[in-house]
Subunit: 394 residues, 2 copies
Amino acid sequence: MMIATKKQYESLTEKTAIHFAKEFFAEDAVLECREIGDGNLNYVFHIKDSKNDKSLIIKQALPYAKVVGESWPLTLKRAVIEANALKKHGEFAVGLVPKVYATDEELAITVMEDLSHLKIVREGLIQLESYPKLATDIGEYLASTLFSTSDFALHPFEKKKLVSDFSNPELCKITEDLIFTDPFFDNETNDFEPSLRADVEAIWQNGPLKLEVAKLKKSFLTEAEALLHGDLHTGSIFASEEETKVIDPEFAFYGPIGFDVGLFLANLIVQTITRDGKQRIVILHQIEQTWEVFTTRFSALWKSEGIDAYKDTDGFEEYIVNKIFQDALGFAGCELIRRTIGLAHVKDLDGIVDDEQRINAKKQALQIGEKLILNRRDISSINAAISLLERVNK
Amino acid sequence: MMIATKKQYESLTEKTAIHFAKEFFAEDAVLECREIGDGNLNYVFHIKDSKNDKSLIIKQALPYAKVVGESWPLTLKRAVIEANALKKHGEFAVGLVPKVYATDEELAITVMEDLSHLKIVREGLIQLESYPKLATDIGEYLASTLFSTSDFALHPFEKKKLVSDFSNPELCKITEDLIFTDPFFDNETNDFEPSLRADVEAIWQNGPLKLEVAKLKKSFLTEAEALLHGDLHTGSIFASEEETKVIDPEFAFYGPIGFDVGLFLANLIVQTITRDGKQRIVILHQIEQTWEVFTTRFSALWKSEGIDAYKDTDGFEEYIVNKIFQDALGFAGCELIRRTIGLAHVKDLDGIVDDEQRINAKKQALQIGEKLILNRRDISSINAAISLLERVNK
């Protein structure tokens, strides 16, 4: 449903958001509104009908991002991309993304399911909360959204239309710069602690590493394999012990399948660095389980929904899954490095209070990142990848 | 320039084409018009001012293709794609494509440079005509059009806009089916002589071959490396001893660079099969020269025009050129096979009158095709590829 509104963008306030939301509630609703976003990229209005115990979210994209200190103009089209990606992914990953009730392109608004009873997974993991469904749900989400939007499942006309609909140059550019380029050169957007300088300079001078990153960046720039979430870190996932919901696909575009898989794995890997003992084993198990569920579901979809003329050709499915695995390891490596020395850090690492521990954790993240990028073609299984984590952790 | 016209499609006739063309000639022009196309996909009107010795071509796309016996509806949008590809490629491969004077989207018309003083290269090669500039011009054409429309040369916003502008699902589907799928399965579109049946059935049952074709098809479906011509066989090239012009890019889209390179090489390879002695050496030399000029120019452009952050990273340029080479060999192999047993044949082979010679030539084409597809990763240079041709020819 498209809402009819005035045709010029303006920022909502808690008051105007309530006015806007009325039509989604009962006549006798008593509405309260709170802005609960971090205000960097979007407004997030939580609107509740206290009388009938109903609620929803109105998310509005802001025409700028406060990422580099000052504000950075950013296309409002990302609100449309995000809403359309939620709808498209929701067709396949049923129950694993928020429901979209309505959109307004001019106001860059999406009206959607209220998930405020859930917690952002990054926060929860840092607090050692338990997410017994996280790995299986994300494995399922990855397999169903990525397989179902690929050439393996779609008629080429439908797939190519989606490729055009989800062309997302501005948001892709952020990834191209911040994940694949800046951290590997002495660029002013980088941000790292002085005690890491020797490690960082070693990365900038590591020719073989940069060659592999160049290949991964080329894959990100050219390989339109499936409709990606495009930013699937643990801050883009809401969960509880019972539920998992993937949010915020504003970076969605057609790219290499391994990118979504790798970003999620990298953000779990960060937790293997910051945790010890049993708590660490929980995460190692989630890494293994995510990959196992992904491949099992991907393979089942290949058999039941696959339309590729070569789907039964010996070795083709294995070739594809192996390519996704190698790509995922490489992209995970890039994510680990950029989250440590690039512009956008993660609280898992930055939040470690003890200086020595924090620096040590960051050095491990860099080491694992390098090894994943350089050795991705020789890592033969998810267990071999986990062994690599063990070796660095010793 | 867009011509203002009535807004509904209708086929031109020699009479209405003259009327349409008047504005491109002098007041006192005495115009003659002849339809010189083969009428399968397009009308081609040759319009000449006999008084002032000027001429031009009006090409009009027909809303159907007579490819499979009966007519097959085909998007008129291909006229826009073709005109835009000529203009875009013409920016870089100066003088190597016809000039576009005007277009009319509704009538699916392109008004362009008259090249009727040149001959279609396939015809000329069959008649053993000499094209001393063909290999160097096509090497230059390939390097300049493909490098200059890739991420190596363009800002990502510009490149992604071109990817969307040149989305060409219907024409790509023809290639996906006729080059990458049908010839490798017992499909009714295939067309081959009974004496080839054993060889053809061996292809249908060749698992390792089909696995490699599956990978090449996947590359064609997903890898948006550069704005391809999309159908660069020797029937898409006009030439004389002095000039080369690449025509008919209606299959243009963003795809893997090796596809254009491979199609051209495959159509030269066909000539190495049908020729002997010195005449054959001419073609072997053209194959070598095309690749050498392509890589030399590509490398020069990489250095002078490249904008990739990793352009100076050791090994990256070599990796890219090597990928293009391996892809080109594989795509060449697919083209050789489909031109022998698929729907659309080539006169080079079908025109051989002697039955035994013709069947022998076709068997060689199939053998070379298979070897190129299966061994493309182990063929280390263009000379190694030429040695492979020698071995099959013995």
